[in-house]
């Protein structure tokens, strides 16, 4: 049981939090032929764009309503209208995700109302699904924005199915923002092993998985389509992953009547077991031999790996469901979670096996590690690198953004095999760094980052 405490500082130093509009934009990256549009200053888009480009190493479509001084005073409806018309003319997307920011929400803009008027008077927008999302920066974080956008997509597109349209072999998947394209691909494969069909929303594995199209496309290429979103109502079951997807799963159930199962995580033996039981029940089929074999391999990985986790100290910093997934894996393997940092409050984190969860930043992570007398490994995004360098603690890159390592999109964290490989990756780092965490944090040159091996 953990106590959740806010760091209580007025100054945030080395922020862990990422903005909700960025999370919402990412959700639209998983929709096919889509252009997300941030309703704010052009900087709101520029910063988010640079971060997405650097993380995914892909061209990222993301536009701005380019709010200026005058529209900030008089209202941004004209900006929204011009932006929609320009995008419709230049890039011809199927979907535009219209996402508010702190700027437009602070001035109290009625974006949805404005949008209704704009759509009424501009027939050229009739073929485009414009999906408004309220996701101001001043409320919540990356997961919040992602969850809100997925909910808005469901709210705008999903339709209840007639009895004839229902397909008892169909399963919806609502992945959280902490899942990589590789995770989604793996999950879909698992679903198909049971003879089921998966309908994923949003589907990053179709778009930012690093494929090379043979002609120029100004919008997203690949991902969930308008039709697949409409057809969510036909499924027998929805599988949502991560607490921040609860609201989306709930909305889908209300709209279409499709029941949902919410998995807190899909990493680890117990969590993977629950997934297999769920799929097996849904399919009415026993767990295939191939998957049973994979389970056995995971058990072996745990047997081989536990030596390197037991008694070691870990720090995890990230969004609530990221922290939950990694924190639980560490404790499943016998490691000790000495620093658990997250940017926003989430009630389920009280169940984390550590003393406290701090709502804070990377400065708090550094302080926690020092208080614990050091740590063996930090698991966090690239932004933790300054802290890790300062403390001389190895840094396993995970989450968003990771822009100083390759292959993040393809790393798999789910299911028996994903967990097996993760245990190996982590154990190898721990084997390389046997001496940390057993005394004061070293400051000598040979323990500096330059000497630390490249990880994660």
């Amino acid at each position: 049981m953990a106590l959740i405490v806010s760091h209580g500082h007025s100054v945030t130093s080395n922020p862990l939090k990422l903005s909700a509009p960025l999370g919402a934009s990412m959700a639209f990256m998983g929709m096919d032929q889509t252009m997300p549009l941030l309703h704010g200053s052009q900087g709101c888009t520029a910063f988010a764009l640079v971060m997405l480009v650097r993380h995914f190493r892909e061209a990222i479509p993301l536009q701005t309503t380019a709010m200026n001084e005058v529209s900030t005073i008089l209202g941004g409806m004209d900006q929204v209208e011009q932006a929609l018309l320009n995008i419709a003319k230049r890039t011809k997307p199927k979907i535009i995700g219209l996402i508010s920011t702190a700027l437009t929400e602070t001035r109290g803009e009625d974006m949805k109302g404005d949008l209704k008027l704009i759509l009424e008077r501009n027939p050229e927008l009739a073929d485009i699904k414009v999906i408004p999302v309220s996701a101001p920066d001043f409320s919540g974080s990356l997961e919040t924005g992602w969850g809100k956008a997925v909910t808005a997509i469901i709210d705008n597109l999903a339709e209840p199915a007639s009895a004839k349209q229902q397909d008892c072999n169909r399963v919806n998947i609502l992945p959280g923002v902490h899942m990589t394209p590789g995770d989604i691909e793996t999950l879909v494969d698992l679903v198909e092993e049971f003879g089921l069909k998966a309908n994923v929303l949003p589907d990053l594995s179709g778009s930012v998985d690093g494929h090379v199209p043979d002609h120029f496309i100004p919008t997203t290429y690949g991902g969930a389509t308008v039709d697949s979103a409409k057809n969510l109502g036909r499924a027998k079951l929805t599988i949502a992953i991560g607490e921040h997807m609860r609201i989306s799963a709930e909305t889908l159930r209300e709209k279409t009547g499709v029941p949902y199962v919410l998995f807190d995580r899909l990493t680890g033996l117990e969590a993977s077991d629950r997934l297999m039981v769920c799929l097996s029940t849904a399919a009415g089929k026993p767990v295939p031999a191939k998957i049973r074999r994979a389970r056995s391999q995971l058990i072996d990985a745990m047997l081989d790996g536990h030596f390197y986790f037991g008694g070691r100290k870990f720090a995890v910093a990230g969004e609530p469901d990221f922290l939950w997934t990694w924190g639980k894996l560490i404790s499943d393997m016998g490691g000790e979670l000495v620093a658990a940092i997250t940017p926003v409050h989430a009630a389920h984190l009280t169940e984390l096996p550590c003393q406290q969860v701090i709502i804070g930043d990377f400065q708090d992570m550094e302080d926690q590690i020092l208080e614990a007398g050091g740590a063996d490994l930090v698991i966090s995004n690239t932004n933790a690198r300054l802290s890790c360098q300062a403390l001389g603690v190895p840094h396993f890159r995970a989450g968003f953004p990771v822009y100083d390592r390759l292959g993040g999109a393809h790393r798999v964290h789910v299911g028996y095999r994903g967990t097996r490989d993760l245990i190996f990756q982590l154990a190898n780092v721990l084997i390389d760094n046997p001496d940390h965490g057993h005394g004061p944090v070293p400051h000598s040159a040979e323990h500096d980052h330059a000497a630390a091996p490249a990880l994660g």
Partner: protein, 462 residues
């Protein structure tokens, strides 16, 4: 709104020929393009201000706003420091719902106090953002109070995103320096050989190259504004004998004001390209001589130029045969194009296009001359779709650009070289051109291109 007059003043720049050539009405629009909603690219004024000031490496840079402004952007620019690392830390007030309802002034004051207590910096820069400007937080008053009570200079930077482009933000940052920083410290070591370089941000740590050249001539760089700068050196920048402005659109106003206030002459130059580097060194020497340095400085400068130019061309010679005939698309913002075009042409390469988005009229004219008067090769911006087509149709062999457009080239299976702020190689000075040529050769000669362009076996028509 907040600093309407200041912004209007910035729109009128006597030191800029382009600006003066405009009509009164056009001038008011500023030098950035009017932003088109739904078809705009680039940063906001806050972004520009932060870019211009953050390289002051020993200061705290505190962003007063909701999380996006700093949380989505901190420590992403690859500007180097030869000492302090404090500038890389991201500080923000992370304004949330309640803070916005209650007003953020108290939180800002506390944040300043906490940052000073923890890091004891020589100064704190506080950046205003859209939301805090909109709710009327008086950043200037908070900074004034904090300076008085806490004894550390706290400098307000009033460039919220919505006032305009990145370029305007650069210039508003210059205003903050002239209003609050430059001239606040009298150094005890001012001399006849001191210069400042304005608009240089030490990307990839390349100022080291420039410093070595200057040092060989006995010239001291008091400070760059603001690459690898220390706060106290910027505060003493008014004692330099000459200013060189390297990114004229960003900080020419600051240069002009420093001339008016302290009589420091300035010139616009660049350290990109061989001929530009030589020209810059000559201009620095001649200005210093006019202001009291010994005339023999020019002889030493000419000797150094002759030696370095010969060495550089010799170092580049082996690449000539490998690069000759290759076609380059030069798609840059800040880097002065014409001098780089000159060097590439000397290598036998063909420049098929060069963007002049941020160049002055004089630069454009020079670039045009280099390109044989072919106006079609000078472009403002190329739409990604057209750029992609250029590569697909084989009209360019390599693109030099910034990170945003890299995937247009890479997805078209075309070599690409980063010459923007995220790059890791130093392209300044004589040595920098050799590095650039080496990097181009590495990119073009990599064996992957032949492999990735080959169709899959099942796609080959018999």
């Amino acid at each position: 709104m907040l600093n309407r007059k200041k912004i209007q003043d910035l729109m009128n720049e006597p030191g800029c020929a382009t600006n003066q050539a405009k009509s009164e009405k056009d001038r008011k629009k500023g030098c950035g393009k009017q932003l088109t909603p739904g078809a705009a690219a680039g940063g906001c004024a806050f972004d520009g201000a932060k870019i211009a000031l953050q390289p002051i490496t020993d200061a705290v840079h505190l962003v007063h706003g909701p999380i996006a402004c700093e949380g989505n952007s901190w420590d992403t620019r690859n500007v180097g420091s030869s000492g302090p690392e404090l500038y890389r830390r991201g500080f923000t007030t992370d304004m949330t719902n309640l803070d916005i309802v209650n007003g953020g002034e108290k939180k800002l004051y506390k944040a300043i106090k906490q940052a000073i207590a923890k890091h004891n910096p020589p100064a704190v820069f506080v950046y205003q953002t859209c939301v805090t400007a909109l709710i009327g937080d008086d950043v200037v008053a908070v900074c004034r109070a904090a300076t008085q009570r806490l004894g550390t200079p706290v400098i307000p930077v009033e460039a919220p995103g919505f006032v305009g482009s990145k370029n305007l933000g650069n210039r508003l940052a210059g205003e903050a320096l002239i209003d609050y920083v430059i001239g606040t410290r009298e150094p005890d070591d001012a001399g006849d050989y001191d210069i400042n370089i304005l608009g240089e941000y030490n990307v990839a740590g390349e100022m080291a190259i420039v410093k070595v050249l200057l040092k060989r001539l006995g010239i001291r760089l008091r400070t760059a504004i603001t690459g690898d700068a220390r706060y106290n050196d910027v505060a003493a920048a008014h004692t330099a004998r000459a200013n060189m402005v390297v990114c004229s659109q960003a900080l020419v106003t600051l240069a002009r004001k420093m001339k008016e206030r302290w009589g420091i002459p300035y010139f616009e130059g660049s350290f990109y390209g061989i001929s530009d580097t030589s020209e810059a060194l000559r201009a620095i020497a001649s200005m210093l001589i006019q202001r009291g340095a010994a005339p023999e400085l020019m002889d030493r400068t000419e000797a150094l130029i002759a030696e370095e130019e010969a060495k550089t061309w010799a170092a580049m010679e082996p690449y000539r045969a490998r690069l000759a005939g290759k076609r380059v698309l030069l798609y840059t913002g800040g880097v002065k194009s014409w001098s780089v075009i000159h060097a590439l042409q000397e290598m036998g390469m063909e420049v098929v296009g060069s963007s002049v988005r941020k160049s002055t009229e004089a630069d454009k004219a020079k670039a045009l001359e280099r390109l044989g008067g072919d106006e079609d090769k000078l472009v403002d911006a190329i739409a990604p779709r057209d750029m992609y087509a250029m590569f697909k149709e084989g009209r360019a062999d390599i693109m030099l650009s910034g990170g945003r457009s890299q995937f247009v080239a890479l997805k078209a299976k075309t070599p690409w070289l980063d010459i923007n702020q995220e790059r890791h190689h130093q392209y300044a000075g004589y040595q920098g051109m050799v590095t650039l040529v080496q990097q181009m050769d590495l990119a073009l000669s990599n064996p992957i291109w032949e492999q990735v362009r080959r169709p899959a076996p099942w796609d080959i028509e018999e």
